[in-house]
């Protein structure tokens, strides 16, 4: 399943997507701890988090993640959105809580990393 297909199926607001909508999502991971994501998310994961700080963009880009979903109505900072656009990181947002997002992704066939 691609990032673009996930956006069609789950109600998500696209905050940044200058590239990567055709990227394959191989698995999913939920965490608000950056080093934990670095250790366990695996390449090509969709990452669900409540962090909106700009450091999430570096994490997503360096760890080769396919997309970041900021859940629970958390607001990404302006710098986060600008950086995501610049780095070609797909940044999505939703008022749905992390648990709900993970459930919907699971129903689409995405499994844990």
């Amino acid at each position: 399943m691609t990032v673009g297909e996930i956006i069609e199926q789950v109600s998500l607001t696209v905050m940044a997507a200058t590239a990567g909508l055709d990227k394959e999502v191989k698995q999913g991971y939920v965490s608000d701890l950056l080093s934990n994501v670095m250790a366990f998310a695996g390449a090509d994961s969709v990452w669900v988090t409540m962090q909106g700080h700009q450091n999430i963009v570096a994490v997503a880009s360096l760890a080769g993640l396919s997309a970041v979903i900021i859940a629970g109505g958390a607001k990404p900072e302006d710098e986060t959105i600008a950086k995501a656009k610049q780095e070609g990181v797909v940044l999505l947002a939703t008022p749905l809580p992390s648990f709900e997002v993970a459930g919907q992704l699971y129903r689409l066939g995405i499994r844990g990393a």
Binding site: L33, S35, N55, A58, V59, L62
Partner: protein, 157 residues
């Protein structure tokens, strides 16, 4: 963060077996706005010279954890990187305060990060273990009042 290129890199990013790309990054304490840029630069070069995605990812993760520790926990420092055809060699050195108990610091889950740092998602106490896991060779030495030195070597298969 500022960066300097040196060595014999000719800028065309095609390496022959004798070439080395040397990079130096100055890391400023508390500078979260450019945090991660050194590691991003390293990853970009590795991708350009054709290092395997999985290897470039490991190097990028190790570099990021080291970079962030200097920015978060130290008074500032620098990262030197040598990218060779068969390996990447990263040395990170900071200007203190040093780590009193390195063995404890290496334990997964140990962190002295204050609340405002934890609010940004740091402080899992997994940065040093991640560096060790991502490296083929890893060493850390630290002296209180002087600083911390980390070396990571990752082979390119």
């Amino acid at each position: 963060m500022t960066m300097e290129y040196g060595g014999v890199w000719n800028g065309c990013l095609e390496m022959n077996s004798r070439q080395v790309i040397q990079l130096e990054f100055f890391l400023e304490a508390g500078d979260f706005s450019t945090a991660g840029e050194a590691s991003s630069q390293i990853k970009r070069i590795l991708q350009q010279i054709g290092v395997k995605a999985e290897t470039a990812r490991r190097i990028a993760i190790g570099a990021y954890e080291a970079e962030m520790n200097v920015i978060i926990h130290s008074l500032g420092g620098k990262m030197r990187v040598a990218i060779l055809p068969d390996r990447t060699d990263i040395s990170v050195e900071d200007n203190g305060p040093g780590i009193a108990d390195v063995k404890l610091a290496m334990q997964e889950g140990y962190s002295t990060a204050p609340d405002h740092i934890r609010d940004m998602g740091f402080g899992a106490g997994m940065g040093l273990p991640n560096m060790a896991r991502c490296s083929d060779e890893f060493s850390i030495t630290s002296e209180v009042g002087v600083g911390t030195k980390i070396r990571m070597v990752i082979h390119h298969p």
